[in-house]
């Protein structure tokens, strides 16, 4: 029993337990202290009355409302594109018995998960070049292109959480459905999917969080600093992460900088709420099936 080993680990433990929270507190502290002051209607609407701004009647030049709208539209479009393939793939991996195809697909999903976001953006850029050369010479970076790339980015999250949610159900549920005379799809639809719905929903929220905060992809596929409200899926758009990135080096005065900090707080709140929602859902799913797990 070597004392030194335990001592070494203990140092690492205390070191980490002090450094990490401290670092995080410092970073968050900077954001809050320098940004909380600017959290007001002005931040969002830049002097324009709220209702007119939100409906787009009057354009907002100095506020982050267009970026918020852009992020929300991007989120919506991305999830629309990613839900079908993501959940379908997850169901396939959880219920299929073709082991070769499963292994291959699982590897593909892992590869997809590991692709750096800038490379995904590069792929989008490549697609744009291809389109320009072939069928759509006037194609430009757009909301649709960014959403497609983001959908690819969050696909692995949807696949893994759907698969995990289905696989965490007790084996008996499959047997119950089969013994009742329900076919494979009927068992899935009426018993398995409703029972794992919370886990799948949690996965959707996680994916949404990932899509909301990503900057590298949208940087190359259509996000700009000033575009107003999203004018359609084929136009450029503003988004919160990009606005933050832009603001970090391009600010004209102290107010703009302060607003930059406030914007980071807005994005932070959005991301954390999505995560909190996802965690809550995952937790209730776990609790429900905890007592009835059988390990055969």
């Amino acid at each position: 029993m070597s004392r030194p080993a335990t001592y070494f680990v203990r140092t690492a433990v205390w070191g980490a337990a002090l450094i990490v929270p401290l670092a995080l507190a410092a970073l968050t502290g900077v954001l809050v202290t320098r940004g909380a002051g600017a959290l007001d209607a002005n931040l969002f609407f830049g002097g324009v009355p709220a209702l007119q701004a939100m409906t787009g009647r009057i354009p907002v030049w100095d506020g982050i409302w267009p970026a918020c709208a852009g992020t929300l539209s991007l989120l919506g479009l991305t999830m629309l594109l990613a839900l079908g393939p993501g959940i379908g793939c997850g169901i396939y991996l959880a219920t299929s018995t073709a082991s070769r195809a499963k292994a291959l697909l699982g590897f593909a999903v892992d590869l997809l998960a590991g692709i750096p976001s800038i490379v995904m953006g590069l792929f989008g850029f490549t697609m744009l070049l291809m389109l320009r050369r072939t069928i759509a010479p006037n194609a430009g970076a757009s909301l649709l292109l960014a959403a497609c790339c983001l959908a690819l980015l969050v696909l692995p999250v949807l696949v893994s959480t759907t698969r995990a949610a289905l696989e965490s159900l007790p084996r008996q549920l499959h047997l119950t459905g089969a013994a009742m005379g329900l076919g494979k799809w009927q068992t899935l639809r009426h018993i398995l999917l409703p029972s794992s719905a919370r886990g799948i929903l949690g996965g959707i929220l996680l994916a949404a969080g990932r899509a909301a905060e990503d900057t590298a992809v949208i940087m190359l596929t259509g996000a700009v600093a000033n575009a107003g409200l999203p004018a359609g899926v084929f136009s450029r758009f503003e988004a919160l992460p990009f606005t933050i990135f832009y603001r970090s080096s391009q600010y004209r005065d102290a107010l703009e900088l302060e607003q930059g900090f406030a914007t980071t707080l807005v994005l932070l709140v959005l991301s954390l709420s999505l995560l909190a929602g996802a965690s809550k859902l995952q937790r209730t799913l776990e609790q429900r099936w905890q007592g009835i797990r059988d390990d055969d």
């Binding site: 335990t6 980490a16 337990a17 410092a26």
Partner: protein, 285 residues
């Protein structure tokens, strides 16, 4: 009727699987396709040379590759021990409530957007590095490395924790029977048993670090030079891609971007293969 529905369902899910597989193939395929002309065309292997100077027609991206590796490895060097420390703390070295708080903190950190880390660091860390080191602008390898370690820490820690939790549960009684304290069980029994898991966490962290764009872009300075000292301004492959495409300067530079993309993909594949061989116990798929 029922039979048909089963078929349709099978086909639909199989189709989604196919779409996903094709997407992955497409990504790899197109990027390699676009990178190919660089080698078959005039530029040839000069892309992999050590000098980047567009003005003089030199598009070597080797410095960028070196920078990516340096930043990722330094982030790993700092982040991995911290992640391990936190895990051990959660699993027994620290009192229960503290451990629970730390776990919550780690989970929350996964939702922290990288761009926000970058933003905060620019205004907090950069001045400190500038004053503290006394040289350079504060935007450097060291700055990026420090923040990047914070970014990859939660992913690594959660992976380690998942593995350690199972193992600790299994070995707790054994350790107690041998007369170990909880700390000793962790140090001498659990950690060695989790070796593969810990290495996998490192591989995952490395992959994540080398693929990050925003932190190096915002904090590392972006000078296309060989990294030699910690306070040097450097440009990673990821930042390089972002810069070249965003500034839209010179299409001759595009070739380098695709090669950079391919290099990153190759790193990704290597990391995934390592992970697979480490977690061969049939974890994924």
């Amino acid at each position: 009727m029922r039979f048909d529905r089963n078929r349709i369902a099978d086909v639909t899910f199989g189709a989604s699987a196919l779409v996903t597989g094709l997407a992955v193939a497409a990504i790899f395929g197109f990027l390699f396709l676009f990178a190919l002309p660089v080698f078959t065309g005039g530029q040839g292997l000069s892309i992999l040379s050590g000098v980047w100077n567009p003005g003089r027609g030199q598009f070597g991206i080797l410095p960028m590759l070196a920078a990516s590796l340096c930043v990722a490895l330094s982030a790993l060097a700092l982040g991995w021990p911290l992640a391990l420390g936190l895990c051990c703390g959660i699993r027994g070295f620290l009192p229960r409530p503290v451990g629970r708080l730390l776990l919550m903190l780690l989970r929350g950190m996964t939702a922290f957007p990288t761009v926000v880390y970058g933003f905060a660091a620019i205004f907090l860390l950069v001045p400190i590095m500038r004053e503290g080191l006394g040289r350079g602008s504060g935007l450097s390898w060291a700055t990026a490395g420090l923040v990047l370690s914070l970014v990859i820490l939660p992913t690594m820690a959660l992976v380690m924790d998942a593995g350690m939790r199972q193992t600790e549960r299994r070995l707790r009684l054994t350790g107690a029977a041998l007369g170990f304290t909880r700390e000793q069980t962790l140090t001498h029994l659990v950690l060695p048993a989790c070796r593969k898991n810990l290495l996998a966490a490192a591989a995952l962290g490395f992959g994540r670090a080398i693929g990050d764009t925003l932190i190096p872009l915002m904090l590392a300075g972006n000078a296309p030079q060989w990294p030699s000292a910690a306070w040097d301004s450097i440009r990673t492959l990821t930042a390089h891609i972002g810069l070249v495409l965003a500034t839209d300067s010179n299409s001759a530079a595009y070739g380098s971007v695709f090669v950079a993309g391919c290099l990153l993909l190759l790193v990704n594949v290597t990391v995934q293969l390592c992970l697979r061989s480490l977690l061969r116990t049939g974890e994924t798929a």
